[in-house]
């Protein structure tokens, strides 16, 4: 085959595929519009369109962020600032590629602002900086991004969360014993910070040894469960406490401990909450959950993005302090709201 024809063929193909991909992306985003909930006051003015891109959509945590996003949207609309928030995330929590193309598609679509919870602290830098250079302000939430260009960074102080969890576990064990850290997934910034915070805090207890801290649970519930079952079976006779840096790992570890009949005996300090985790907390299978405030995070992020889109000044950084909820304090009203966020009110389910 001649080089010339093949080259021109290739170029044409690339252009064609690019156009096709763009078209598909746009239509997919268009589909996302329908997710905006009814009951929003409609103004005649053109609404400010904010794209909100979470790390995932199936986990409870992201649903709560979504509720916060809708809360902010409703408030702003009621206050006379028409806002439309588009909620669009990858279904798989470790699909960086799809998150990158989601950002790119929103840039192409010409939204007024983007709220991004980046799956990767470096991989998402390029699309974010492209958005900013196209005059679309970006607010980073939940996990850090290696860039100082975003308008604002709103996140739980994850390291502090890890420290709180570590301190609590140490105190539960009376300062001595053997503990396990089951890590989440390689390359996830927020959980790595929690893990680092935990290790820092647990070192202040000289009589506590960490007997396993190298295993990663992986991205999904299935992989987390397998890893938990294997680890717990290995150390079931000696382990006194476990720290879990996020929801899937907390769920999997508790499940594995229950299967071995050593739940309640082994102290579990986890992160985040779901109805299941709350039940276990109540039953004494889990002894502490470090909680973020995802509803507030979504709320603050959308507000910041709208403000940035309107050219108003926004705080460059907003550290949200995590809270520790235990079986003892879980019935206090402030924790109750954190444990059972009013999802139904916003998501209608």
């Amino acid at each position: 085959m001649s080089v010339r024809t093949s080259a021109s063929f290739t170029r044409r193909t690339v252009i064609g595929l690019g156009a096709l991909a763009l078209g598909l992306g746009l239509s997919a985003c268009g589909g996302g519009d329908t997710e905006a909930k009814p009951g929003v006051a409609v103004s005649n003015a053109k609404p400010i369109v904010i794209a909100v891109i979470p790390k995932g959509t199936t986990h409870e945590f992201w649903k709560t962020v979504h509720a916060g996003v809708i809360k902010a949207e409703r408030e702003l609309n009621a206050a006379g600032t028409p806002v439309k928030a588009i909620w669009k995330g990858p279904l798989k929590e470790d699909d960086r590629t799809s998150q990158i193309s989601t950002v790119q598609n929103f840039i192409a679509q010409g939204v007024q602002g983007i709220v991004l919870m980046p799956l990767d602290r470096t991989a998402l830098v390029a699309p974010v900086e492209l958005a900013i250079s196209s005059n679309i302000p970006v607010v980073i939430a939940d996990s850090a991004l290696e860039s100082d260009k975003p308008a604002s960074y709103i996140a739980t102080n994850n390291k502090e969360g890890g420290r709180i969890g570590g301190k609590h576990l140490g105190e539960l064990l009376g300062g001595k014993g053997k503990v396990i850290l089951l890590r989440y997934m390689e390359g996830s910034a927020s959980t790595e910070e929690r893990e680092a915070g935990f290790m820092e805090a647990i070192k202040t207890f000289p009589d506590i040894t960490v007997i396993s801290s190298d295993v990663h649970a992986g991205a999904t519930h299935e992989t987390a469960l397998k890893a938990s079952q294997n680890l717990i079976n290995r150390f079931k006779d000696e382990v006194n406490g476990v720290f879990c840096p996020c929801e899937p790992v907390t769920t999997a570890i508790t499940q594995a401990l229950t299967e071995q009949g050593i739940n309640k005996k082994v102290k579990v300090v986890g992160f985040d909450n779901t109805p299941r985790l709350v039940e276990w907390l109540k039953a004494g299978d889990i002894h502490g959950l470090v909680l973020q405030d995802p509803l507030n995070m979504g709320y603050l992020a959308v507000k910041a993005a709208v403000a940035a889109a309107q050219g108003k000044p926004v705080d460059k950084r907003n550290d949200m302090a995590p809270r520790l909820v235990t079986p003892e304090n879980m019935d206090q009203p402030e924790f109750k709201a954190l444990l059972n966020p009013p999802l139904a009110e916003y998501l209608g389910k």
Partner: protein, 506 residues
């Protein structure tokens, strides 16, 4: 004597290609009909119609007086029509017994009854004198001849009224052939009719009472075997006198350009010795499995050479890659031009010039204009019938495809051409073109080795013929010293090739 099968005006087309245009024949009970025809005459299609693998577009058939129009292989089988295909149709991972009863396993509630399966298979194999074969042995691990017999056993389990054998001896040894003939004779005495397809006319004469000749999808002659001479049959097969098919173009033979000394490959050949001279057309004959294609492949550097020496122009060749061979002026046209020879989706021009793009290339880019001009002149020289050099090769007829394959060697400037079955599956007119082309090449001083399993063409165009038998290639002898009988005997290892038989007995 009752008529077993009649076939009247059967026609079958595949898209625009008319494979059968009107076939008439009949077979009596307990008799054997030899069905003769060239490759591509429509024999295989006719067999597939008879066994229900294809549905005829027109015409009618009767079996023992009743209308016969099988809906599928199973239906034909249940009516008592069984076939042994030329190409092996065994599932090589499955055992012998399973293969024999494939598609027809005795079963109860969907569970295979292995005991009965083995009993039926054993009985069929005993008829063929293979009663001691391991029934669970994977068919793929059997020698080719035994695989062929397993296929015949499969046909026998249908208790056939009509048995069709399609080129059954192409992979059999002489002893196996004789054994097969005795089986056929026994079946005939039991009232079974046989259709025997072969282009070995001697074999047809040995087993068949009647013959029918197929050419270009139509039956052109039929009659009693005893009344037909060999020349008659060949004339019917090719449709014209043999002399005009094989044009004699005068050419001079010079010094030796290529020499093989005791070449042995991984399995075959075991011992190949040959000398090719400048301007010579050398025929290479051998039965399927004798190792003739393997010899060409080893010679061209496609297969590993275990022993022996190749000399080109007197120089021993140390490098053994096709690339080195091409640089030394040798070119090969594979017997399987569709999968190995041509890039079917690509234009003629690309196919012709693939091995040598240098003349049209500037700074790594190909000048299409010059490439096509060069291709066009080659096409004119070789009488390739096509819309133009940009047409895809896959759209051409078989004969024109073959011309393109040979044309590539000419474009490359090869002096030694290895042609493996250059006329397989192409029509008679195109064959004559190819023969003329080969003659012209020799007249230009090129040397050609033609591998063929069709003896008349070798006798018609070659200066010398060498015969291969079970991996052993003996030096060539002038064509005048051969006739079709001596060639075949040498190939089977029957007469003077006693050493050849010794080899195989090891």
């Amino acid at each position: 004597m009752t008529t077993r099968l009649t076939v009247t005006g059967i026609a079958k087309a595949f898209g625009a290609t008319k494979a059968l245009v009107g076939v008439d024949l009949s077979v009596n009970a307990g008799e054997c009909l030899a069905l003769i025809g060239e490759n591509g005459a429509g024999k295989s299609t006719l067999m597939k119609v008879l066994t229900g693998a294809h549905r005829a577009d027109g015409g009618s058939m009767t079996l023992d007086g009743a209308p016969y129009d099988p809906s599928g292989p199973l239906d034909a089988r249940s009516r008592g029509v069984a076939i042994v295909y030329q190409e092996l149709t065994l599932a090589r991972h499955l055992g012998v017994a399973e293969n024999i009863l494939l598609g027809n396993q005795p079963s109860r509630f969907g569970i295979v009854d292995r005991k009965r399966q083995n009993a039926i298979a054993r009985e069929a194999l005993e008829q063929l004198g293979l009663g001691d074969l391991d029934l669970d042995r994977p068919a793929g691990s059997l020698p080719i001849a035994q695989q062929q017999l397993v296929e015949i056993a499969r046909a026998l389990t249908a208790k056939p009224r009509l048995l069709i054998l399609d080129e059954p001896t192409s992979s059999l040894t002489a002893a196996d052939v004789e054994h097969l003939f005795s089986v056929i004779r026994r079946l005939k005495t039991q009232g079974v009719s046989v259709i025997y397809i072969s282009h070995f006319l001697e074999e047809c004469r040995a087993v068949a009472e009647h013959y029918a000749v197929l050419r270009d999808g139509a039956s052109v002659a039929s009659g009693a075997m005893a009344d037909a001479s060999e020349t008659d049959l060949i004339r019917h097969m090719v449709g014209r006198d043999v002399a005009e098919i094989y044009p004699r173009i005068p050419h001079d033979i010079g010094d030796t350009v290529l020499e093989l000394r005791g070449i042995a490959g991984e399995a075959k050949p075991t011992d190949a010795t040959l000398a090719l001279r400048r301007g010579e057309i050398l025929g290479l004959f051998g039965l399927v499995g004798s190792g003739r294609s393997e010899t060409l492949r080893a010679l061209f550097g496609l297969d590993r050479i275990a022993r022996g020496m190749v000399l080109i122009g007197g120089q021993p060749q140390t490098h053994r890659s096709p690339r080195q061979r091409l640089l030394a002026g040798m070119g090969l046209v594979s017997e399987d031009r569709k999968s190995e020879g041509l890039l079917l989706n690509l234009p003629i021009a690309d196919n012709l010039t693939l091995t040598c793009l240098g003349p049209f290339t500037t700074a790594g880019l190909i000048n299409r204009g010059r490439q096509e001009a060069s291709a066009r002149s080659l096409m004119e020289r070789m009488l390739v019938k096509a819309a133009g050099p940009a047409q895809a090769v896959g759209e051409l007829s078989g004969g024109n495809q073959q011309k393109v394959a040979i044309g590539r060697l000419l474009h490359h400037g090869c002096d030694i051409l290895l042609l493996d079955e250059p006329t397989r599956g192409i029509d008679v007119g195109a064959k004559a073109h190819i023969y003329r082309l080969i003659g012209e090449l020799a007249a230009q001083g090129k040397s050609v080795i033609v591998v063929s399993s069709y003896i008349p063409e070798l006798l018609g165009i070659c200066d010398a013929i060498a015969v291969m038998c079970r991996g052993v290639l003996s030096p060539a002898r002038p064509v005048a010293e051969w006739d079709s009988h001596t060639i075949l005997s040498a190939a089977i290892g029957a007469e003077e090739n006693a050493e050849c038989r010794m080899q195989s007995a090891e």
